[in-house]
């Protein structure tokens, strides 16, 4: 009954390079890394639902995630924030579960649950004691099968979501900085550049027929992936999946709009006044290479080299040597991971600084620190260290949050690549990156013309920083 089947035997074994170089303390020297892979079984139901199974008997818990290929990127144009508001509605009632009975069902069976709205998917997931797998699958199939919500539910959740936007953005210093702001300034295509959380007016204006139509359009098995991770028997899980999801009808999906961003040819600058902030802040956003290209993997390692960890170039230059800030933050996909999106993306770095340091000084220091990556092949030792950090991060993602970290990878790769086994070949892809490729990638994607600079000016007493004197290294603090 399955259209596609990939057995665990096809999963690529990870080829772990032995990575270690000079600077370790006392007992430095090569240590061999153990091989690590996760089981991945993948198939599709006749109705198009993508199913991924990955058993792990470490702890008697299971995690179930249902991912719908509808994120805030392609929500309706006159209804910013609608994809997220809709996500809330999925907790308000389905065919067999009334308002919030879904949540009670999970909690009273000893589980935790949540949902989230991201660039290219909306997900719903629960972690439960292992013996509750059937209960969870029944409940997720029930809400995939139909929404049963009314005007009161919508009004209530418009209030809740309005409060969510207030607590996270409107009543918060640095609210929306840079995760919500930067895409709006750096991107040009509406789908990538609108307010994903939503204008309060749009959220408040949403109607029940719009909710129902959105469900009908996007919440169908052929637009979804189901991932199950944890302590379960795959044969039994397949029976449950067939029993509860098998009868659901597929739908005719609308064509995907054009999401592409043009190559950015000129640096952009934006200033946002923040009356609640007490210190200025700065963010740089660079358009990323297309997903899953060699340059994309190179950019993952550039992220590790430039901003991840205390050994990173920007931490050393901006925090350690110059004291411009206490922490350099950022990464690839601030609303997720480098692995769970499917469209244009930004690499962002951001920091809060003192008014005594001008933004020009910081931008110039960043540019100077980045320049060696663009002009010569990177030191192999530094590249090796970046790879170790990346591998360690990936394992944290796989092992995190009661199985949810792995669910997220498997469901994303099933939905976006039709290949969840990618989880086991990711490290090998990053290992292919050479110093020459790093240089080539940095030349194109770390071009000054490819960046957007966003400044936060605090309160009423904001200094005229944007027009201040030219940048330089003269303001070193030590």
């Amino acid at each position: 009954m399955y259209l596609t089947k990939r057995s665990a035997a096809r999963v690529l074994a990870l080829v772990m390079a032995t990575i270690l170089a000079g600077l370790a303390p006392a007992n430095a020297g090569p240590v061999s890394a153990p091989e690590f892979k996760v089981p991945v079984e993948y198939y599709k139901l006749p109705n198009g639902l993508r199913v991924v199974l990955s058993p792990d008997h470490t702890s008697p818990i299971i995690c179930v995630g249902v991912y719908y290929h509808i994120g805030f990127r392609i929500e309706p144009r006159d209804r910013t924030g609608f994809a997220h508001l809709f996500e809330h509605m999925m907790f308000q009632g389905s065919q067999n579960l009334g308002k919030m009975e879904f949540i009670k069902l999970v909690q009273q069976n000893g589980g935790i649950l949540n949902g989230s709205t991201r660039f290219d998917f909306t997900n719903y997931f629960e972690t439960l004691p292992a013996n509750k797998l059937e209960t969870a699958l029944w409940a997720e199939a029930d809400r995939m099968g139909g929404l049963a919500v009314n005007e009161d539910n919508l009004k209530n959740q418009q209030g809740v979501v309005g409060n969510e936007v207030k607590v996270n953005v409107l009543n918060s210093p640095y609210g929306g900085f840079p995760w919500l702001d930067m895409p709006q300034y750096a991107n040009t295509n509406w789908y990538n550049a609108h307010n994903f959380y939503g204008d309060l007016k749009d959220i408040e204006g949403a109607t029940l027929p719009e909710v129902q139509s959105f469900f009908k359009t996007y919440y169908a098995p052929n637009n979804a992936a189901l991932a199950i991770v944890g302590d379960f028997d795959p044969a039994q899980a397949k029976q449950f999946v067939a029993k509860y999801f098998g009868a659901l009808k597929s739908s005719q999906l609308p064509p995907q709009p054009d999401l592409t961003e043009p190559r950015q040819e000129k640096e952009k600058q934006a200033i946002k006044k923040d009356p609640l902030a007490t210190k200025p802040a700065l963010a740089l956003g660079y358009h990323m290479p297309e997903r899953n290209t060699p340059e994309y993997y190179a950019m993952g390692l550039i992220d590790e080299m430039l901003i991840e960890g205390d050994d990173s170039v920007l931490h050393q230059e901006l925090v350690q040597k110059r004291g411009y800030t206490g922490a350099v933050s950022g990464g690839i996909n601030l609303l997720g991971t480098p692995w769970n999106y499917d469209g244009p993306m930004l690499f962002i770095t951001n920091m809060i600084h003192d008014p005594a340091t001008t933004p020009e000084t910081i931008v110039q220091t960043i540019a100077t620190s980045i320049e060696p990556l663009r002009t010569k092949p990177v030191d192999q030792k530094m590249l090796d260290r970046a790879l170790v950090k990346l591998r360690s991060d990936l394992y944290d993602t796989i092992g995190g949050q009661g199985g949810f970290g792995l669910v997220d990878l498997l469901a994303s790769f099933a939905l976006f690549d039709d290949n969840p086994a990618r989880v086991n070949s990711l490290v090998a892809e990053y290992e292919k990156v050479t110093p020459a490729l790093i240089q080539k990638t940095a030349q194109e994607y770390l071009r000054p013309e490819n960046r957007t600079v966003l400044l936060i000016q605090p309160g009423a007493q904001a200094p005229p920083a944007a027009t201040a004197k030219p940048a330089g290294d003269s303001e070193k603090k030590q």
Binding site: T58, E134, N171, A277, T278, D396
Partner: protein, 474 residues
Amino acid sequence: MTSTRTTKLFLTSAIFVFAAASHASAQAPAASQKQTPPPGGAAKPFNVPAHESYTLPNGMRVTLVPYGNIPKVAVSLAIRAGNLNEPQDVLGVADITGELLKEGTKTLSSQALAEAVAQMGSSLSVTVGADETAIDVDVLSEYGGRAVTLISDVAMHPLLPESELARLKANLLRQVLVAKSRPSQMALARFRKLLYGDHPYGEILPTEASLKKITIDDARKFYAANYGAERAHLYVAGKFDVAEVKKAIAAGFSDWSKGTPPVLNVPHPKTERLLDVTDRPGAPQSTIYVGLPVIDPTNPDNIPLTVTNALLGGSFSSRITSNIREQKGYTYSPTSQLSRRYHDAYWAEIADVTTAATGPSLKEIFGEIDRLQKEPPGAAELKGIQSYMSGLFVIQNSTRQALIGQLRNVDLQGLGEDYLKNYVQRVNAVTPEDVQRMTAKYIKPEQMTIVVVGDKSKITDQLAPYAALPETAK
């Protein structure tokens, strides 16, 4: 805990739904047509993963927890040196000392240290809390022994260099100023100050004047007085070579001087009704902290009170959350908590509510407390909460970092080896009458401190009824 990727967590949760239970909607399909959820199979047994604990001759405690199949190992050194131990005139010195630990050892510069940890796949994290400072790394499995050696070097031979002090103080000051602009931090700081007064637990954000005064001698003195083997407990959890790690522990830590035993300074927080409003003109929401001191975690009522909290406001399906979120739509993420320090705890309900709903939210919060004081919860409602807590306990013991967190809490509070073993059983032994009794005995509105950060011009009238106690309650 520690990862090289340090910045994503709050952003990832930014668009999360947090939901709560309520009544079935009026237009849902009739109950008779509905299917019943399948109950699932028989429960699988769960035991807290076994751990091995021992003490080095110098008094340092060690706990090893081989766990899981992810090829990583967390190494965490908890030291009883926290904000509690700061001298009154140099508040913030524990934090500065913690930051200085990352600035190099007698044999490794700060950059060499950062690179050494990165080469194991981690960052060095130093977290200073009210009671403890924790030094953490979370490395690839093959580096377990080296990580132990490195942490021993950081804890025992830090350079504490004067050259970095001004920068670290500027960083901390910037952090404090930013924190003071966040309504949640403003409210928490006021709440703690009002509850604990001049006790160190009352000062969560040191002042600029206090921070500026700190000298390198203050930090070195703080280190000498508070860091030592007798104050320290090393936890290693995850996938690692036990023999190699034990060898590294013996080699790395045996020479650490014993130091002095932990300083005990349990506070006597305030238990009087008080309303405190901080003006935040134009704020679209009011940030509310309402609560009072409660029994410490060693009290036999601790677990019944924990169950009571989960039912009242501490879970998705709790009464207060159902009321002010799912029925009224006043707020997004209300929660009640039992916040604990060494032999000290308070209960608080925390919520950011629409400005116009400030008074109405307090009315509902107190109303739910009152209802639970007067009437025990239904057996099914309580059973639901108990099942939730039992399941949550398994989930909470399913990662190496969470295991360390559980064990650290048991060790800090002195709850005993059996605490985790008997936890689920004790949770399930709580009765509806216990919950009512706990509410009446400990969650007393007439003793609560109410902190509100919001637009005074719009909330003063709404708050008037809560400024003083009604005569009947005095």
